[in-house]
Assembly symmetry: C2
């Protein structure tokens, strides 16, 4: 009887461990320094490819001309139908990948680290190095990430946001500054904490004394959603993008920027120990979140002393001087623009930078990043966060 | 220029939406009442199967004899390489599924709802009905889920737990009771909030006035981990299961039950607005978490007035009377046992129930559940939570 119960529990545990019953688990990815080996058991497959943002690039044709994208590589079948491929000298970074088995994209069943970008999932791994050290879990003194439903008058419903509170929050009456951080089009309140590694970056920077302890509020900035689409279906009706780049609805964020100013900030300031002053509020956003940052800051120049625009700037139809004047008049402590020259929003960023120059508005430009992607935005957060509230 | 920027942003958004470039997105699963249609675009595939816990069962041979498990069904290829299958009259419930494409298990790329059980991922959907209504997001008055790193002296490191605070928490000085809820072997601090739908069940029960507003603490109860394995690698060394069912280490939870009593409870009671009394503490656990509940409660009869054991009971080597006596002597308000007769831990549960009877200890037995799985444990939580703190 004892043996039976032991067997039962052992089996149950084994079932948990062995995704493919009867076959030993594979190690994938196996990281040896900067060499990474990928493995997939697929005995019936004819062709297995590895797709990864760390693979050498090739040029492809797109509707907008040539683009340089990482080229998939063919994996090699070995014993027991296990396909394998080793990538040498992977640059230390946050790396994303998937497999394609006979034309079918799939996740690596041996890697529990997955991440969602909108509707798409990829696997990831992190190789430690100068660029990526802050993306790893901090050794200690880690903050808390909360998924908070707050009442939104702008939407007439509860909406969900991610709130990071730093290590030690709540242990005293200490009040904290707040950084409101917006995602881009297609994203949601999970984007910055997962793809953006926001908690790890802040934990590390704060533990190292490089950033002020702060609360980071990462709302759902999608005016067509109440929460991430794996939690709640999108709202009925057309996407704000379908209204076109010239539409005031897109620039104003539809109900979102109203929600931010009238619902989110008051909720945060009445539910958390925060300093309710302009000098203790920061706002930033990437791409669509950058548009909302550009729209909100001149209309509420009393709110934020720290402004960050990532991978965005002014579209041609905006009156740059009119948009920047209220900010200049009210005063601010930091205007930070992060955008690489290969970013598809670079022309917009250039218009913003030109406007700041022409108006003699002090600002910091950071351009040591690539395209319009999370590789850029993680690095931007690393650069921007230490400058806030100082 | 305007058109170019519009195109760029539209393309970016389209890339987010279209997992397979050039092909229109599929709807899968498509739910019409209780009929559910699954779709997968796989033009090169020879055979595509649907695996789901809602499919008709068949008997298979296992090392422990015959088991009845849901049988995969073959999907049918249609236009454009889209495979399809409709399941009629799916019982309203939380339903899990995956596809198998030419022998390769994969997730449904059209369904953003995925869930992790240990190392394995599945898709899921919920069909509303009497059994499953509480598993859906509540209409309003939703609580907050936090991922909290707390200092563990027992482990000499920070560990992570999930903490649910009910709607309205923190809006006044109101103090709340606390329910400490343990997962099973192979699980982690994400198991109850995801697979167990704990937040949705509590939100709904509290909003309907059927359960007391309470804090639910869902620790990582795995003594071989500091946090879920997608956040941190397992600790080095053998699993506690490898020590065998007779080992005191398994029953005592290694460092875990020490951590619960000496680290987790003191942390919760010093960081949250809680009532620090036995009558305001509940403990429950499933399977391995049930073993820990059975172990902890007699050794700390001063701590919990509400005790729940799910899919577990006493293994033959335990002295049932000695284990239950301290609880009887100290007094308690609820002893709840949830286990179906087809559960592989049923013999253990029978020993527990027999002991409670023989010692004239008042208790509630709930057996309207099936096997050793999350279908059982979600229903158990629905039944148990309304009985707490009343």
């Amino acid at each position: 009887m004892k043996r039976t119960i032991l067997s039962l529990l052992t089996l149950l545990f084994a079932i948990n461990l062995f995704a493919q019953f009867g076959a030993p688990p594979l190690v994938s990815p196996e990281i040896n320094g900067t060499d990474v080996t990928f493995r997939l058991r697929a005995p019936k497959a004819i062709k297995v490819e590895l797709n990864g943002d760390f693979l050498p690039k090739k040029e492809i044709e797109t509707p907008m001309g040539k683009m340089s994208v990482p080229a998939p590589v063919e994996m090699v079948e070995g014993e027991g139908g296990v396909w394998e491929y080793t990538v040498k000298d992977v640059s230390p970074d946050y790396c994303s990948y998937t497999f394609t088995v006979d034309g079918q994209k799939m996740l690596d069943p041996s890697n529990v680290k997955t991440v969602r970008d909108g509707q798409n999932f990829t696997n990831y791994f992190i190789i430690a190095g100068e660029k990526s050290d802050l993306f790893l879990e901090a050794e200690a003194k880690k903050g808390t990430l909360s998924k908070v439903w707050y009442p939104s008058n702008a939407f007439g419903a509860e909406r969900r946001m991610s709130v990071y509170t730093p290590y030690g929050y709540g242990e005293s009456n200490k009040k904290y500054p707040v950084f409101y951080l917006q995602h881009g089009g297609g994203g949601d309140e999970d984007a910055w904490p997962t793809l953006g590694r926001a908690c790890q970056i802040l934990d590390n920077l704060i533990a190292q004394g490089k950033a002020e302890p702060m609360i980071v509020v990462m709302p759902n900035a999608d005016p067509n959603s109440l929460a991430a689409q794996d939690v709640m279906d999108k709202l009925p009706g057309p996407s704000i993008f379908s209204l076109g780049m010239e539409s005031e609805e897109l620039h104003s964020g539809g109900n979102y920027t109203k929600d931010l100013v009238e619902d989110i900030i008051p909720y945060v300031e009445s539910h958390y120990n925060v300093i309710k002053k302009k000098e203790s509020r920061a706002i930033a956003g990437l791409s669509m979140g950058g548009i909302y940052t550009l729209y909100t800051t001149p209309r509420h120049p009393e709110l934020f002393d720290y402004i960050g625009v990532l991978s965005m700037g002014f579209t041609p139809e905006r009156d740059v001087k009119a948009e920047l004047t209220p900010i200049k008049d009210a005063g601010y402590k930091l205007y930070w623009v992060g955008c690489g020259e290969t970013d598809m929003a670079w022309a917009n960023a250039e218009r913003l930078l030109k406007g700041l120059d022409e108006m003699d508005m002090e600002h910091i430009y950071f351009g040591e990043v690539g395209g319009h992607n999370w590789d850029t935005w993680r690095v931007c957060l690393k650069e921007l966060a230490p400058l806030l509230f100082k």
